[in-house]
Symmetry: C2
Subunit: 158 residues, 2 copies
Amino acid sequence: MLFFEDIEVGWRRELGRHTFTADEIKRFASRYDPQLFHIDENEAKKSHFGALCASGWHTAAVCMRTIVESSKQLADAMAARGEKVAKTGPSPGFSNLKWLKPVYAGDTISFVSEVIETRPSESRTGWGIVRTRFSGHNQNGAPVYQFEGVVFVERRST
Amino acid sequence: MLFFEDIEVGWRRELGRHTFTADEIKRFASRYDPQLFHIDENEAKKSHFGALCASGWHTAAVCMRTIVESSKQLADAMAARGEKVAKTGPSPGFSNLKWLKPVYAGDTISFVSEVIETRPSESRTGWGIVRTRFSGHNQNGAPVYQFEGVVFVERRST
């Protein structure tokens, strides 16, 4: 991760994209959210969704993967350039998680992060607090998912 | 589901319990949350968690399964008694999701629901709104997870 001092409000990163196949939607939902509109195309057609769509927890899990993988890529790229990589602390939590539209079978969701607040931590010397909005948009540009996360980020020791 | 008129604040249900094995924790995390403390026992020991623990999204997904399965059991039992089963509408969302403590490999989490608010819907005639707190406790009784969900529930047409 960048050091706290190098992170600015508005910093936006493309985290990755993922196409939700019908098979994958049904596999996740069979295990964790076996509602008919997530596991059966015909039942989904008759539901208020109108077609097979992913469990919201599936969308959340895939988003988490893009966050972890893109953070690792960022850290690896910094290390490869010989830059020191800042530590991050445990997250104090998140808020405002919303599933804004269904994610249908075949949809490709692009996930992005955008920093919306930065402030020094009052309780933990040497750390800053960064609030980020994570969101997913489908192939038509429509927002389908979002949440805000907060994380402690190491400050430069100068 | 019970009809809106039959649901009272304080109605509490045991939804089910689940033991999170190390294999399962690593399998979920490898796919959706590949941070070292979720996929490698030795790295987890060195982390602030101190031992392998489940991705928060894994806990959330397992909780969702207990919600779906226990709702189906409730509906099946009502139908078997010849009672009419109330419809539920799409959920307008949830709030206050918190991961309160880590879920470690070997922990058994018991999930419960408790109704915390009921009110008639002003916008949708024939429906009521039910707010429920879902929570998970480990084998020591410590709360590890919670969120509040809102759902539309059919009213009796009298």
